[in-house]
C-alpha cells in the first residue's frame, strides 16, 4: 500500500465486458484527509478535545489565581503543598513516558516480550504516581483541607461566622470526649486521639473561644472586634508572624491582669462587708431570741430585716465579682498555657478546628478539581494498559500500542503544565 496516493489517480474504466448499457463506473481511489491510520487520527482528535477540557479547568484556575489581590492567595506552606513531592511526581510521569515509548519501539521491532516488560514498567510507574497523589491528598485531608463543604474547615476571614463555627466544632469535640470517658470509664480514653487532653480543650473553650465571644459582644469598636477574631484565628492556625495580633494580645493580657488585681482588691472589701453583715444579722437574731419585751422585739425585727437585706445584697455583690473574675482568670490561664505554642493549636493538640486561610477554599476547589481530573485520566490510562497487556504485542499491535502511548503522553503533558501552576506559583 503506498502512502503517496495521488488525487489525479482517478481511474475511469468500465467494468469487464463491453457495452451492456452500463455507464462508465468511475473507480475512485480512497483518499484520506490525513495519511495516518484511522485509529491514530481518532486518538489525535480525542486529544484535541481533551486539550479543550483541560484548558477550561486551567483557564479557570488562572483567572482565580491571578485575579486575587496580592497576599490573598494561600502560600504553599498554608495549604501543605510540598513542591518537591510534585517534582518527584513529574519525574515519575516523565519516566513512564519514556518506558512506553520504548515499549512501542519494541512492538514495532516485533519483540512482544520486551514490549510487554516496558508496558508493565509504565503501568507500575503510573501506580506510583497515583500512590504519591493519594499520600498528598491524605495529608491535606488530615489538616482539614477538603474540596468544599461540608468537610472543609477553611474560612476566608475571621468573622462571626468563623467564631460560631469554631465554637460548635469545639463543643462537639468536648462532648465526644466526655461521652467516650463515660462509656469506657477510663482515664486513657480522654487523651487517646488528641495530643491534649480534655482539660486543654476546656481551657481553650473557656479562655479563648468564650472570651472572644465576650469581647466581640461587648466592645463597640469594630476594629477591636476584628482584632479579637483575628487573634483567635491566629492562635488556632498562625500563617506566619502577625505583629498586629501580638501587640493586641500583649495589651489585652496586661489589661486583664490589671483588672483582675482591681477586682480582687474589691473582692476583699466586699468579702469583709459580707462577713460584717453576717455578724450583724447573727447578733441581731441572738438579741431577738433573748429579748422578752414585745415592743422592743418588733424594733429588733425591723432592724434584722434591714440587716438581712443588706447582707443579701453584699452576698450578691460577692458572687457578681466572682462571676466577673472567672472569665478573666480563664483568659490569663489560657494565655499562659498557650503563649509558648508557635505552630498553632491545631498542630499542637492535633485538633481540627476551623482555620482562616484567605482564598483557601477557592484554592482547594481548583486544586482538587484539576489534580482530581488528571488523576482520573491517569487511572483511565492504567486501565488501558491492563487491557493492552492481554494482547500479544507484536508488529500487528504496534498501532494500538502507539495510540495508547499517545494518550499517555498527553496525560504527561497536562501534568507538565499543572506542576508549575499549582506547586510553584
Amino acid at each position: 500500500m503506498n502512502s503517496k496516493a495521488n488525487p489525479s489517480e482517478v481511474t475511469g474504466t468500465t467494468e469487464g465486458g463491453g457495452g451492456e448499457g452500463s455507464h462508465g463506473h468511475i473507480k475512485l481511489k480512497y483518499q484520506p484527509a490525513v495519511p495516518v491510520p484511522k485509529g491514530k487520527l481518532a486518538v489525535w482528535l480525542f486529544l484535541s478535545t481533551e486539550i479543550m477540557f483541560f484548558t477550561a479547568l486551567i483557564g479557570t484556575y488562572i483567572v482565580l489565581r491571578f485575579g486575587a489581590p496580592e497576599g490573598s492567595w494561600p502560600t504553599p506552606a498554608d495549604v501543605r503543598v510540598l513542591e518537591w513531592l510534585g517534582a518527584v511526581n513529574t519525574f515519575v510521569l516523565i519516566c513512564s513516558s519514556v518506558t512506553i515509548v520504548f515499549g512501542m519501539e519494541a512492538a514495532k521491532q516485533d519483540r512482544p516480550a520486551k514490549a510487554k516488560k516496558w508496558l508493565i514498567g509504565t503501568f507500575v510507574l503510573g501506580c506510583v504516581f497515583l500512590g504519591i497523589k493519594a499520600y498528598e491528598y491524605n495529608s491535606k485531608f488530615e489538616h482539614g483541607i477538603h474540596p468544599g463543604a461540608p468537610r472543609s474547615l477553611l474560612y476566608d476571614r475571621a468573622d462571626l461566622n468563623y467564631l460560631s463555627a469554631v465554637k460548635s466544632n469545639l463543643d462537639a469535640e468536648i462532648l465526644s470526649i466526655e461521652k467516650e470517658k463515660t462509656a469506657l470509664v477510663s482515664e486513657s480514653a480522654a487523651a487517646h486521639d488528641h495530643g491534649g487532653g480534655l482539660e486543654d480543650l476546656i481551657l481553650i473553650r473557656a479562655g479563648l473561644v468564650q472570651w472572644t465571644q465576650k469581647t466581640v459582644g461587648e466592645t463597640e469598636s469594630p476594629m477591636m472586634r476584628e482584632l479579637a477574631l483575628e487573634s483567635l484565628a491566629h492562635q488556632i492556625n498562625p500563617r506566619g508572624s502577625n505583629p498586629r495580633v501580638d501587640a493586641y494580645l500583649a495589651s489585652e493580657i496586661a489589661d486583664v491582669k490589671n483588672r483582675i488585681a482591681e477586682l480582687m482588691g474589691q473582692q476583699e472589701i466586699i468579702d469583709e462587708d459580707v462577713r460584717e453583715m453576717q455578724n450583724r444579722v447573727n447578733a441581731l437574731s441572738e438579741e431577738l431570741k433573748l429579748e422578752p419585751d414585745d415592743s422592743r422585739k418588733s424594733d429588733i425585727e425591723s432592724k434584722l430585716a434591714a440587716a438581712t437585706e443588706e447582707s443579701r445584697k453584699a452576698a450578691t455583690k460577692a458572687t457578681e465579682v466572682v462571676d466577673l473574675l472567672k472569665p478573666l482568670t480563664d483568659r490569663v490561664n489560657a494565655f499562659e498555657q498557650f503563649s509558648g505554642i508557635h505552630d498553632g493549636l491545631n498542630e499542637h493538640f492535633h485538633l481540627k478546628l476551623p482555620m482562616v486561610i484567605p482564598s483557601g477554599n477557592t484554592w482547594a476547589n481548583t486544586y482538587f478539581l484539576m489534580t482530581g481530573f488528571h488523576a482520573l485520566h491517569v487511572l483511565g490510562g492504567l486501565v488501558a494498559f491492563l487491557v493492552l497487556l492481554m494482547f500479544r504485542l507484536d508488529r500487528t499491535r504496534a498501532g494500538l500500542m502507539e495510540n495508547v502511548g499517545l494518550y499517555w503522553h498527553f496525560v504527561d503533558i497536562v501534568w507538565i503544565f499543572l506542576f508549575p501552576l499549582l506547586y510553584l506559583f
Binding site: S3, P37, M52, G59, G67, V101, E105, R157, Y248
Partner: protein
C-alpha cells in the same frame, strides 16, 4: 484494507533509543530548572518568574510532543492537528487576560463582603474590652 500504513519511521531504530534517552535527560534537566527558578532570584519580579516557568513547561511539552509522540518524524499532516490544538490551548487562555484584570480590579458586593483581607493596617493601641464592675 484501505488503511494507509504510516510506516515512515526512522530506519535505524537504535539511534531512536539514543534520541529518546537524550530527550528524557533534557526533560529531567528542565524539571529541575523550573524548580530552581521557583526558588531563585527570578521570583523577585513575579511576572518574570512565572514567564520563565511557563517557558520551561512549554519547552518540556514540545519535547514530549515532538519526540515521544513521534511528530518529529511525521509529515505535514501534523500541522493540521497541532496548530488548531495550539490555538485552543494558548489563545483561549490569553483571551482570559481581561477577565483576570477585571477580577483583580473589581469586587462584586458579595465578594467584598466575604473577601479575605490581605491588606496590612496600622496596629491599634488602646484599651481592650475588659468588662468593668460599674
Amino acid at each position: 484494507m484501505n488503511e494507509i500504513d504510516a510506516t515512515n519511521q526512522d530506519p535505524s531504530e537504535n539511534s531512536n533509543t539514543r534520541v529518546f534517552l537524550f530527550v528524557f535527560l533534557m526533560l529531567c534537566v528542565l524539571t529541575g530548572l523550573s524548580f530552581w527558578v521557583a526558588n531563585s532570584y527570578l521570583m523577585e519580579n513575579k511576572v518574570v518568574g512565572w514567564a520563565a516557568m511557563m517557558l520551561v513547561s512549554v519547552a518540556k511539552a514540545l519535547l514530549v510532543i515532538l519526540f515521544f509522540m513521534h511528530l518529529w518524524w511525521e509529515r505535514a499532516w501534523k500541522y493540521v492537528l497541532t496548530i488548531p490544538a495550539l490555538f485552543m490551548g494558548v489563545l483561549l487562555v490569553l483571551l482570559l487576560v481581561p477577565d483576570v484584570g477585571y477580577r483583580y480590579m473589581t469586587y462584586s458586593k458579595e465578594r467584598r463582603e466575604n473577601a479575605p483581607q490581605p491588606a496590612v493596617r496600622e496596629p491599634v493601641v488602646g484599651k481592650s474590652a475588659v468588662p468593668t464592675l460599674d
